[in-house]
Structures are given as C-alpha cells and as structure tokens.
Point group: D3
Chain length 69, copies 6
C-alpha cells in the first residue's frame, strides 16, 4: 500500500513500552535520530513490534510543526 | 520554551510553498531526511521561514504511526 | 505495507478539489458513507487520485471522537 | 450542536476497553464497518458509553489519509 | 449533540479568512483569548461562520501539548 | 524557542493524572478556562509538571474544530 502521508521514515524498533490501551514505540531512523510513537497496544501486537524489527515511522504533514530558536 | 512533544528534529528549511491559508515547508534534518510540514501561512511569515534557516520539525508522539513491510 | 492505524476503510474516490497547497478528497466507502479527507495537493498527484479510483481512507484511532445525541 | 468536522458517522458502540487515562471505543457504523476511537476514560464515562448505545464517530477531514494498493 | 472532546470553549467569531480548500477562523473566547482554527471552507460555509457569531472552539485533549519556560 | 502553533495559552497546572503510558494534565488558563491535555507520562516527568507550575497549553490551528448551537 502507498499512503498519502508525506513523511515515511525507515528505521528499526528500539523499544516498546506497553500500557493498558496504548503502547509507546521508539524507532531509530537515519542519522541516529529517535522517533517516539504512541499507537494502540492492539496495533503494536498486530504488527508484532519488537526491538530490532524494520519499520517505518509515518507522519501526516499537517501534524508537523516548526520551531525556531 | 521547552515543549512536551517527544519529537523535536533539528534541521534547515529547504523549500517554502505558500498557499492562500496554509504553507508547505520542507525541512532537511539529520541523515539527509526530508520532513514535510503544513502550517498556516501566517505562522510561516511570523517565523520568517526561508530556505537555509535553522529550524526544528516538531511532532507529538500520538501523531506518529508505524508501518511494516 | 501494513500500518498501525486502526481504521482502514476501503472505498472509491468520488471527487477531488485541488487548492494551492491542499486538496480535498471525497471517498465513498461501504454502506454509501462518504468520507472527506484533506491531504497535500502533492500527495493527491503522487497517488494519481481521480474519481473512480479504488483507495483506502485511513484514520488513526486517536483522531476519532465520539458524539452522542 | 453542529460541528465543523466533515465526517460524522452514525453507529452503535460495540466494545469499550478502559485504561488508566484513555479508553478504546469500537463503534459499528453503516455497512458493518467498525471504527476504533481512543478518547479519555473520563469522556467515555461522561458520555456513558456502553455496548449498544447509539453514537457518532466524528473525524476532522485533515486527520484522514488516503492509501492506494 | 454532546462530544467526547474535553475542550469546548465558548466564544465569538472574530475573523474568517477563506482559502481555496481551507478557511482560517479566529475565535475570541473567555478572558479575551484568541483561538485560531483551520477548517474546510465548505464547513465554514455550512456553519455560516461570520464575525460576531457565537461558536465553540473544540479541541481533543490528545491534540494539546504543554510548554514550559 | 518560538513555535509555529498558533495557539499558545498561558496558564497554570491544576491537576496531573498519570497512566501507564500517557498522563492527563489539566491547565487553568485566562478567564478561569480549563484546558485538558494528554501527553506521554515521560514528557510530564521531563517537564516536571505539578500543580501550580506555570505552563503553556499549545494547540496547532488545524486541530481546532468549530461548533455552533
């Protein structure tokens, strides 16, 4: 499947922290950058997310803000 | 200001495309990765976003999805 | 690609309205329900969205609210 | 109240899974489609969401992505 | 209709700026605070949003970030 | 840091409810208005959010909906 989301960053799962309803997933992408994602626990299980697994961090452009110093 | 958003990626503005209400900003972050952001045209002007400017792409963790092959 | 988003609704593009930066896409899914999506014009062009094309409307669960009468 | 959100889908609560802070709500809408929503536990209680209750799944158009095969 | 969104702020429309696809709405709420909203132009027309009209600014709790000095 | 988000509301933390992965933060802003935010528990700890602390509630304009009576 191709997706309209403009930001699809290839990486590897570094850590999965499950909660009751949501899980926190840390993904390491290019340049050693870490991306944190909150998805439902059910999705984390369905995608079998575990440390080392190759994944994509996907972000819709309208959800990206810009900051300046 | 410090912000709760877990994802704050340092980069440089690569391109600004203004519309009537929103502008599209392309930011190049570490590892040569490009991040696309849609913000209001008014914010893009207030922050004086132009190619070459040092910025941060900021993303709340709950807005990051995970994809697998 | 499999995606963590819990809501992936199969449908058909009904209408595409392009703006300067964003495009509005109307998708008809099961039960004759119409789903409206705003994505970047650039994504609408990259996915070649035109009336009749088979697509999925994809929504992260944390972006769904509940209303009651 | 009328709301600007373009997507207001009539349905019935199918399942409620409460967590510590958030609850997961599954709504069955037209055509047998299931929509998953994450809202605060406090909102789920305030709206008295229980299986069988008539509700609306509400989604802002800017939170709908498009996927293609 | 009652809505799960935790933040429903009563106010008055101050300004409407229409674009091709989206419109920017400025709402003045309690305490003289201005809230800026981007909705589809079509929704702004359907709700007949014009300066002076009594409205609510509605925000899902998962879309609110926290900043500190 | 300056941020593109159009809505930056000054206030004070009123209550923090931690869950396993997310925490709910209630902020009192001008005019006695309460804003509810869901952020990761990890961010709430990093920003040392406790009742009485001066903070900002930050909301991207594209996440604000409009309702009418």
């Amino acid at each position: 499947m191709q997706i309209s989301a403009r930001n699809v960053l290839k990486g590897k799962v570094k850590k999965v922290t499950p909660g009751a309803v949501n899980s926190e997933i840390i993904v390491e992408v290019a340049g050693g950058v870490e991306i944190v994602s909150i998805i439902t626990k059910s999705s984390a299980e369905r995608l079998a997310l575990n440390p080392g697994k190759q994944v994509y961090a996907i972000i819709k452009a309208s959800n990206v803000m810009i900051g300046t110093d």
